[in-house]
């Protein structure tokens, strides 16, 4: 385990984080161009909702990414707390902003899709409400970092917020199965065949890759800033 931590040493990582963003940016531009072309032009319209299905290509990847990022943040914070490794906390902190942005994108695009399809902008059903709660946890997490930036206990507070928020993640995932909701159940599951036609699944996956790259880009830039802050404090180790 000690051996693995060595790879995360700031001096080595700084070399990567200061150079990688431009390559990730280039890759992101390529993938998002393909994704948007596929999603907005080449993919077919839906038999029932016609062109409003195109909102899904932004909505679903954004929701996936925001859930994935919160889960990783919690895992990192907990590992950081258990193994007393401050670097893990900084990685979690740098991941949070893009997670929040994608969470908000998922809520807003869902609302825009809901109006023509369901007939309402907002419904207090289990899926939508739990997604809003996740956004609040993201906010709490980021605000806590901002307020207690220079205090020692900032690590404990943010870990606790992540730990409380992670309970919500499986609730979001299974809300559509446990309770009757206005939101439709999952179309893509690991075990059964997807109920999204392959011509629509392809742009969905490309867009997911594009959003993941965007998160990586923002993460690298944020993390780079954190490492510079450490360097400026004159510390060569955490």
């Amino acid at each position: 385990m000690k051996f693995i931590f060595k790879f995360f040493e700031p001096n080595k990582v700084f070399l990567i984080t200061s150079k990688a963003p431009k390559y990730v940016m280039a890759l992101f531009m390529i993938v998002i161009s393909i994704g948007l072309l596929e999603a907005l032009i080449f993919s077919p319209e839906d038999y029932k909702q016609s062109h409003s299905v195109r909102i899904m290509y932004v909505h679903v990847p954004a929701a996936w990414i925001s859930l994935g990022i919160f889960s990783s943040m919690t895992l990192l914070s907990l590992s950081g707390y258990i193994f007393k490794n401050k670097n893990f906390f900084l990685i979690a902190k740098s991941l949070a902003p893009s997670g929040l942005v994608f969470n908000i994108i998922a809520l807003v695009t869902g609302s825009i899709w809901g109006k023509p399809t369901w007939g309402t902008w907002w419904a207090w059903d289990a899926r939508i409400t739990s997604m809003l709660i996740l956004a609040l946890f993201y906010l709490m997490y980021l605000v806590a970092w901002r307020i207690y930036e220079n205090k020692d206990y900032v690590l404990k507070i943010t870990t606790m917020i992540a730990l409380m928020g992670i309970i919500n993640v499986p609730i979001i995932k299974y809300s559509v199965e446990w309770w009757s909701t206005l939101h439709q159940p999952a179309s893509i599951t690991l075990l059964s065949k997807s109920s999204i036609h392959s011509s629509m699944l392809f742009p969905l996956l490309i867009m997911t890759a594009a959003f993941a790259l965007f998160s990586l880009l923002i993460f690298l830039m944020k993390y780079n800033t954190e490492l510079i802050k450490i360097k400026n404090k004159g510390l060569d180790r955490l």
Binding site: D46, Y47, Y81, P116, G119, Q184, P185, H197
Partner: protein, 139 residues
Amino acid sequence: MYGRKVKLRFLFIILILFSLILSTFLILKSLEENVVYFQSPSDIKLLEEFRDKKIRVGGMVKENSIKVSSEKINFIITDFKNEINVVYSGVIPNLFSEGKGVVAEGYLKDRSFFKATKILAKHDENYMPPEVKAILEEK
């Protein structure tokens, strides 16, 4: 392999996580009535008190049940066990159609008659191009 402190911290996290899950579960269990967005016609049959209380009924719009007149629209919501008659006047979402999911918000007049104040169409999890749908229907 790991120090005693590491093990203790791990145990601490597990305990917190366990109690958080347990308390969330109990809270959601007791709030179940409010967490569900709508009730099925079968749930409505079992309701004891329903007068003057806004509720939502959800299910499928029964085939050949939509009757449109100048002022109002009548249709039947079914869950394939029980049915409920709905009357509504107002804006109808585009996706509202026979054999598809619907959620009606409003008041129960009696156990099988519902006066809706708002209609929402429920979309299912199937996405496909029109051509594929046509092929599926031919089969």
